[in-house]
Amino acid sequence: MADLLLQMEGVSKRYPGNGVQAVDGASLQVARGEIRAIVGENGAGKTTLMHIVTGVVGADTGSVTVCGRTLVTGDPAAARAAGVVMSYQHPRLDRSLTVLENLFLGDEPRRLGILFNRRRAYDRIRAVARDLPKRLVTRPLARLSSGQVRMVSLVAALLRLPTDRAGVLILDEPTEATTPEEADRIFQIIRDSAAAGHAVVFITHRLPEVGRVAHTVTVLRGGRIVGTYAADAGAATLAAAMVGSSEGEDTLHPPPAAGTHEPGPVRLRFERLTIERFGRSLVSDVSFSVRGGEVIGLTGIRENGIEAMEGLLAGKLSHTSGRFELDGRTVSDPTPNKLRSLGMRYVPTDRLLRGASVDSSVSENLIALKRRHLQRAGLFDAATVTDFAASLQRRFGIDAALNVPLWQLSGGNIQKVILSRELEGDPHMLVICEPSWGLDFRTRRRIISQVRRTAQAGAAVIVISTDIDEVIDLADRVLVLYDGRIVADVPASEASRQSIGRAMAGALAVGEPGAR
């Protein structure tokens, strides 16, 4: 028998605050060198189960054994000493410190007893993540993309893994908010860690990832372990197990196709748009328009212009030349305020930073755009505010009380709060970035149909995403940016994963300057 690094027997946990049985009699074994995926819907108990291993959460019953040591649950120090290391879904890193400082905070290699020995620090990073670019390491975290931050939090976990013996590496949604290339690097790191003799457990919402990197996969539903399968079990089997067999079939149907209704008036128009920054052109000569009722998918590899387009549509960047029109009005110098007042709705890539105030309550997050319409005689009308928030809560199935701070919610519920606020009340224009990050497929499907419905109600929708499948699924038309230019503009019905992938890599642009 392979030697087991992680053994859980009959573990249960009920949260006394809300009475939720988060984990119910779960048993789990993970062997040395094994990569285990954990899947389940939002709220299935995946994160709680892993928090019991790390000692952040104490179990009510059951035992946890790590590398042969039986742990007293609820003791993070003991779990660490036994070799458990976890990389969190929302890492709490300091945004003003550099990557290097974040990685070694409180555990700096020293020179002469007091000086920070940077060389030793670099060496230790290189030992666990060979290809982390050195220029990235000296940057403040605030200047990193969300995908790069994920990478940093993963490296932080790797640095804490024991080097002289086996450990258990736990990752919560390691590829959330990453680009496909970043995801590939993260997978390689996971494989390397397993090959080095550690056990790796990772929580994911992306079922295709399971087959690509895991050896085995455990499915959780409502706090119980439904089963453990070989990684090649296939998405259909796993999905059915996640939602329960009777519902599985139905849920797997793709969302309804875009409506065949008449397109509305042009709501958004770009004409020969160029965005330059620091003498470098980020977007060149981009022209397209979006009608009411239409969903445009804008995709491309990172650093090829989609971030700049998001920046422009959010009001963070201005265009240097060309025209940008909203509802027939020329926007010469976009600011967030101006775009919002023209009716723009925006779901940013960085949800927690730009999309929400995590320290405010759910209700305060929900009313952000509606705030001026909820007053009576100059003061907020409590009943109107509550009615409004409760209606969004119901409509989007937000599973949390309205008065709790947002940071207490699960990742999926935070997403729902943001999306419900932006989709509310038939907007004219919607920009939505990476729509399904961190969502299980049922919630994802719900979001997709909500976005569709918003379009059918007359909105011009731009989906900005690095996920090809998502763009093809969701959009009527797919535009690909490469090197700041539009290199493909095809109806989604004619787009294939391969053709879009080639355009993203610039293959179509060769010899075809300005190709459409």
Binding site: Y346, R354, G355, A356, S357, S360, E364, L369, P405
Partner: protein
Amino acid sequence: MRDRLTQGSFRSSLLAVLAAIAVTVILLGFGSPSWSSAMRAFFVQPLTNRFYLGNMLSSMGYLLIAALGIVIAFRCGLYNLGGEGQIFVGALAGTLAGLALPGLPGIFGTLLVLIVASATGALLGGLSGLFRRLWGAPELITSYLLSAALIPAAEYLIVGPANDPTRSLLATARLSRAYWLPRFFAPSDLNLSFAIAIALAGIVYLMMFYTVRGYELRIFGLNEEFATYSGIHPTTYTLGAMGLSGGLHGLTGGLMVAGTYHAAISGFSGGIGWSAIAVALVGRLHPLGAIVSALLFAYLDAGTKASMLHTEFTFELGTVIQAVILLLVTASFVVSRRSS
């Protein structure tokens, strides 16, 4: 850090205060030969005597208004450390305006003093907000430096050009009697300012939690980026909150002149701008919490003064007690942060 400032429960503030009182009791034991008489002087004296009680409430009012200024700035994510200067310079400007136009009908004279004082404070605060908006200069530093530079300048005016040589004090001339705020608890200092302070606390509370402006201010304070993307204009709040904060400090100075001192006196602000920060923090940046904590600070201050007069208790020990409270309050923030 500011995102956690408001979230710790009032319970940990209470705990800090109780611990501070315990330390006070111990210090009183060491600081004076008769422990029981010192205890009585500290805790009971301020409440038994009309003069002490009135003065205590009077200084509570001033502390409260300045603390409301801090609450507004901190809730907006801005650190106004220039309160002391805004109070002092505001008071001087108000006094000078009142002295320049001595013949107005009473109420207008009072209003003149208060408006000029508030406007001066607002200008100083707003300037720091502007610097931050224009050049990203941290308001924490500019407000402090501005205040630190202007206090000596104001002192110079008081002892120099604006000094009233007929009085033996280092002070300006007195405002005409018609400009004084009505007192109502003779022989103490208690005057209309106290009622104004309580009313302002109520207004700030309503503004903060029941108006769109207050909502925008709080969201801006918690996540500037998100606020901006929700269409909240950053300039409005950086300038507005700093201006309002400075304005409330200036008003404090104006009221101290119109209500208590009737002239600008050298060093008369006496650290009230700094105490206001502590008051605001103990009150967990809540306008109504500030009422309670202003009362508490005023009470401890009155106790210290009473024990100095009636026992061997020294001024330094009084300062130590206030320092202990601040320390414990800070500690309570750390604890509530850890546990969340």
